[in-house]
Amino acid sequence: MTLKENMIAIEGLTKDFDSFRAVDNVSFNVEKGEVLGFLGPNGAGKSTTMKMLTGYLPISGGTASICGKDVTQYPLEVKSKIGYLPEGAPLYGDMTTIGFLDFIAEVRGLSGSDKQAKVDLSIKKLQLESVMNQPIETLSKGFKRRVGFAQAILHDPDILILDEPTDGLDPNQKYQVRELIKEMARDKAIIISTHILEEVEAVCSRAVIIAAGSIVFDDTPEKLKAKSTNGSLDQVFRELTHH
């Protein structure tokens, strides 16, 4: 395994909030072409880990690097390589879909025909044509989520970090988003956090389960399923994360 393949490298990552340790000594690597499903109960530290990777939260201990660049040392370079969908997909409600995507493209340093092409492509990929000129606050939850997704893939990033990307979508939209993730997986490294265990089977090449801040499982979804006595992922999940 060369350094170049490890697009995301986390070593002993730790996060303390005052006296509470939210993430405790987490280590894993993600290679190009991998889709890592990040699982765990609420409050296990999934979002916190993602927030540290994307440079939103400062790291308390350990290191994280993206494409060989340390997250703390080179924040801007790292952020330009990541597409990030934060939990709940926060968006500027007062802007129109197209206005918002243009804004994101401009902050990411795109301009002219290049910007136009990239914005158009992400609108097409997420099928947002019908709501292009609508204020985001008037959109349905599904559309909002897709605008958030469009924003994350707009600059064709090497790394995608998606915090519960299919939360609040109907089954058709979930299917669409999963297809999109699979399609993009070839030349990117992707981390998705989810509560939906079937999603891991459907799109992920690897599953990492985190409980109370520590990793309790890191292998393929098939291996995870094999651990179960009755073939149900829910049951393994409960066993691994139960205290």
Partner: protein, 244 residues
């Protein structure tokens, strides 16, 4: 710099996407007009100047600027968009400056729309336009100081009402620190260097010299430093409060 422009564009757009901007401009124009003509006795004074207009600006800004600045960061923190913003490849201080400039541009538009008053005074008499230009500049840069304080306070909370009140209180302290009432409270016991330092921090003192038509470098430096210091604190506050 291109991404700072993107921030400015978005923020100015955000002001005008709601009726708030128009309401603010109308209130500002109506109040400044009413104060000039009724309380400032513009006609009765019989002077061809805009003193009765500018002398109310420190008091007008006390309530109107916090209304402009309160949403700058508090809204982002409340809706969670601050996470989106801070994970884009752009430095925090660039965002702080961009947001500040956008709000300042908005004030400039409101201030610029008071031009009929300037036309009126030129029609009625022969004012010293140099003094008027200096006063406009002084008023604008003082508004910037109020704004920087407001932006900084806005970053400390997710509640816009709290941001409004705290900003008004802090600006009031800066405004009043040179006034006799406040000074006499301290003069009894505080050492003179403290009362002098306090007096030199007063917006009112610095603004009044500019309105008299004296553009003293010290006053410009004072207001610029206030802007610089509070935007610096603003950036630090955002770093400290992210994720909470």
């Amino acid at each position: 710099m291109h991404n700072c422009l993107a921030i400015i564009k978005r923020e100015v757009g955000a002001y005008f996407s709601t009726p708030l901007a128009y309401v603010f401009i109308v209130i500002f124009l109506a109040l400044s007009g009413a104060l000039t003509f009724f309380m400032g006795a513009f006609f009765e004074r019989g002077q061809a100047d805009l003193n009765s207009f500018f002398s109310f600006h420190p008091w007008l800004y006390l309530f109107l600027i916090p209304a402009i600045s309160m949403r700058l960061w508090a809204e982002e923190r409340k809706t969670g968009t601050v996470e989106l913003l801070l994970t884009l490849p752009i430095s925090t201080w660039v965002i702080v400056v961009g947001k500040f400039l956008a709000a300042w541009i908005f004030i400039a538009i409101a201030l610029g729309l008071t031009f009929p008053l300037w036309l009126t005074v030129n029609y009625l008499g022969d004012p010293d336009n140099g003094v008027i230009v200096a006063s406009y500049l002084g008023s604008f840069i003082m508004a910037g100081s109020y704004l920087a304080i407001g932006s900084c306070i806005s970053a400390t909370t997710r509640n816009q009402v709290i941001a409004f009140i705290l900003t008004a209180v802090l600006c009031f302290l800066f405004l009043m620190s040179g006034v006799e009432l406040v000074q006499s409270f301290f003069q009894g016991w505080a050492p003179s260097f403290m009362t002098e330092a306090l007096a030199s921090m007063s917006f009112l003192t610095h603004f009044n010299t500019i309105v008299r038509g004296v553009i003293d470098l010290r006053d410009i430096v004072f207001f610029s430093s206030i802007i610089g210091v509070f935007l610096y604190i603003n950036t630090a506050v955002i770093h400290l409060t992210r994720g909470s």
